[in-house]
Symmetry: C2
Subunit: 301 residues, 2 copies
């Protein structure tokens, strides 16, 4: 959604690349040097952002899904039946849903105890009144879901989203580390099991909660190494290893959305090759030879 | 739609950046160095491309529009009423439509002689049967269009697209130069008038035909400097000046889709600043210090 940028380079040059065109193949697309490079190649001082009209009306549905195979079948069905109206497909592992709707959590929009919950949201044009109902009926008939609630009001929609969004209940349960990884959907179930097993091998009481934007291959993991207690630097390192190490075999990414910073820098070789990291270093040296821009972030220099 | 690339660098390094994730913020997004840089920074040897399911059913409509204000109002209406189903909004200036549906051209899907024609295409989910009819009715009622034809068969759809796609009739009318520019929609009408006037000042018989993907701000111009005759190198240079020079004032791009190559290299400063071109040169020197990769393309080195 970024069309143009103004960037101050390390030598003080103001690089104005304030393109407003959706299509522009007039020379190198320089803004890409600065998007997602965490301020290590230049300081962004202006941006041209493409806006989209506010969606007039959304449809929101929460579904209980009995198994992971059903989740992937449901995603395929949503893509087929809802097409470009599909805006969100949020998967919550049952333990995440249960933790957020526990005694001191949110009131559950539907019964707890299902292995998975999926929140689907659509942008509805006027003629699509029945789209979500048809989708739910078909999913129930195919046995992909055991229960479904279509939000009937903005208040009910907000209540459903709270269960996905507002995870304070987890954070209150003890020091908790949040992760942001991506990997192919086909491997997600195995991956989460593997992370749980690895965590339990070193921290027997650790709790792992997971939700994800799985249409994008993106999972967020919450690991509480010592529920009710305080975690140490050693715990942190152990948990990092448990979460990141298995990603290599799946071609996954140690950061889907949030970047590398300093925390994940040592794990970058899990997701990127030596040749890639070498080229990142060469770009860094080209654009910031004196290492004055966010030094130490992303790659060691 | 490009997720990953394998690239051979100038020094022979094989850079494997074959990401398959939709979201990956694990370090610099290196593929962007090679996308759209016309082989000047590396040789792409593999690509991971995101695919979308074939659209099961499309809706196609051709509209006659009496003025340019109507065109922009129609685009707004299409975005509002068709939402994410809108797949194409193709504008043809009347002279383009007339040239392609002339005596030895295609049979016209609707009457010739309108100032503008717009081709709209939608991806229809099952429930959207009436979407295009509603759109046409509303556009007629609002006086935005004077006529409209909804394709009733694949054959009729193909016939409508031929008038947009198959511009051999123009190429047969004499040596013709094709252009690919982008600029804000609000300035398109002025811009085309300005190009026509400029061309006529130096080449009185020149014919300028235009169509565009105007939702993307992208126009394609066809200039035939000497209809029925042969054009010279001097004509070419004169026409290039007429088409490119006015773009600077609109923040437009001398190439929307097709790149710079050698032909447009000298006009790059119309669309890009000195600081930008300098940075492109520094990137070129970093990645290809011996200038062995497509030397001379995009920027002078």
């Amino acid at each position: 959604m970024i069309l143009g940028l103004e960037v101050v380079l390390a030598d003080g040059t103001v690089l104005s690349s304030m393109n407003r065109m959706l299509k522009n193949n007039s020379g190198y697309d320089l803004k890409q040097l600065f998007i997602g490079t965490e301020g290590t190649l230049g300081v962004i001082t202006k941006a041209v952002v493409r806006l989209e009209p506010v969606i007039a009306r959304t449809g929101t549905i929460l579904l209980a899904v009995p198994g992971f195979d059903g989740v992937t079948a449901l995603l395929q069905s949503a893509r087929r039946m809802l097409g470009s109206a599909l805006q969100a497909f949020e998967l919550m592992w049952g333990s995440y849903y249960d933790a957020l709707t526990g005694p001191d959590g949110h009131s559950p929009p539907m019964e707890r105890g299902s292995p998975y919950y999926v929140l689907v949201e659509t942008a509805l044009p006027a003629s699509d009144e029945t789209m979500l109902d048809d989708f739910l009926t078909s999913a129930l008939e195919d046995g992909l879901v055991t229960d479904g609630v279509v939000a009937q009001s903005e208040a009910q929609r907000a209540r459903i989203w709270k269960v996905r969004d507002d995870f304070d209940a987890i954070l209150r349960s003890g020091d908790t580390y949040l992760f942001d990884v991506s990997l192919p959907i086909a491997h997600m179930h195995d991956y989460v099991d593997r992370v749980r097993d690895a965590c339990h091998a070193v921290l027997p009481d650790a709790i792992v909660h997971v939700f994800g934007h799985i249409g994008d291959g993106n999972l967020h993991l919450f690991v509480t190494p010592r529920p009710g207690g305080t975690a140490s630097k050693t715990d942190r390192k152990a948990v990092d290893e448990c979460v990141y190490a298995p990603l290599g075999r799946y071609g996954g990414a140690i950061s889907a959305e949030h970047g590398i910073g300093r925390e994940k820098r040592d794990y970058l070789p899990i997701s990127r090759t030596d040749a890639e990291i070498d080229l990142m270093r060469r770009m860094k040296r080209l654009l910031d030879p004196d290492l004055i821009l966010n030094p130490g972030l992303v790659v060691k220099t």
